[in-house]
Amino acid sequence: MLIIPAIDIKEGRCVRLTEGKFEDVEIFSDDPVAVAVKWANKGAMMLHVVDLDGARYGKLTNSSLLEKIIKKVNIPIQTGGGIRKYEEVERLINLGASRVILGTILWKDKSLAKRLFKDFSEKVIAGIDAREGYVAIEGWQNITSVDALDFAKEMERLGARRIIYTDIKRDGTLIGPNMDNLEKMLKNVNIPLICSGGITSLDDIEKLKRLEGLGLEGIIIGKALYKGRIILEEALKLAQGK
């Protein structure tokens, strides 16, 4: 099981939001590159870097920072936020991003989604962010009437190789993941899934580890790491079963 520290970038800083609300922001560092290096040095095997400004305004905003992170750390980076065009996916991959996370673009243009899954296969991930079971888009500011589970199945049909499933109501709340929803999702799709939202303790990781057999491939952890509720080294040990 992969433990993936999250680095959310807003206006050049490393921040955490609560339930994705832009007004509910906590700054953890002015230097996201140093944060990335710190997690990598502690043994993380992958990082999750999100351009929050990008997600909100639909335009890549912090890509020079992303580039610095990619060059500085010696682990793969998955990244997303504000990617709305084919060329942008291509650009991020050429920049050295290992995987690009697609969100709004998948909802808006199904034929483009299909093309992206076909052309970039394992290098793109369908990011499905759900609020009370419905797909949220545009930096989580708009909630659609599309059921997250149906959307996940549709993405799989369109050729997605991997899903990141985020439970918005849990994100940044430190109250634990929504196990029921996650299990339901895992049972309904046949591609690997990475979960995020609410993971707060080693107990949570232990619980999530039991879902590995259902296809849960990784866990994204944000606030809990920054608040010291989870120590990365301990999480890694637990996840790798050592």
């Binding site: 095997m45 990619i70 010696n74 682990i75 296969s121």
Partner: protein, 207 residues
Amino acid sequence: MIVIVDYGMGNLKSVQNAFAKVGYKTLITDNPNLIKKASALVLPGVGAFRDAIKSLKDKKIDKELIKAIRIGKPFLGICLGMQLLFGFSEEGGLFKGLNIIPGRVKRFSSLVKCPHLGWNKVKFIHNSNRNINPIFEGVLDESYFYFVHSYYCEVDNQKIIYSTTDYGSAFPSSIWKDNLFGVQFHPEKSSTSGLKILKNFGELSKC
């Protein structure tokens, strides 16, 4: 000086930074004269086989690389950089490689997803007659490394395969013959185990 061979593609900085992290200064260059003077060479892996081999030839680097390997300089091929050492590749047609190692580069079977992307186990081939590959010194058997590739090397001389990795079936994830080292994974993206390999390789450059 360790030289990272620049054949005009991709992101060589991450290889350079990883070496810097373990205390080795490297030079990224496509200048055949500087390549000639290198104490050790790294051929990184990015892009398509055809473009890479064309670029090596256009820049007249190919002959220098072959020479360096022949005279015993430590040489590390990473991912495509390892594949380029073989006779030919089936990537995008049929293209001749540097032909230093007998064998060919083939696409994974259609039964597995391509590219093979992610962390996977590197299993050493156990053979009591065999020495430890110096660049794997201190790396545990079945350690995880990071892979990104759709093609793999089919090696004629089984004896030079140092490790295999399972993806559909087992493929060679590293090769070793004297001063020549090849890894299919990306040590520069493989956290501490990867850094260990670069550090070990760096030490060879001092000999």
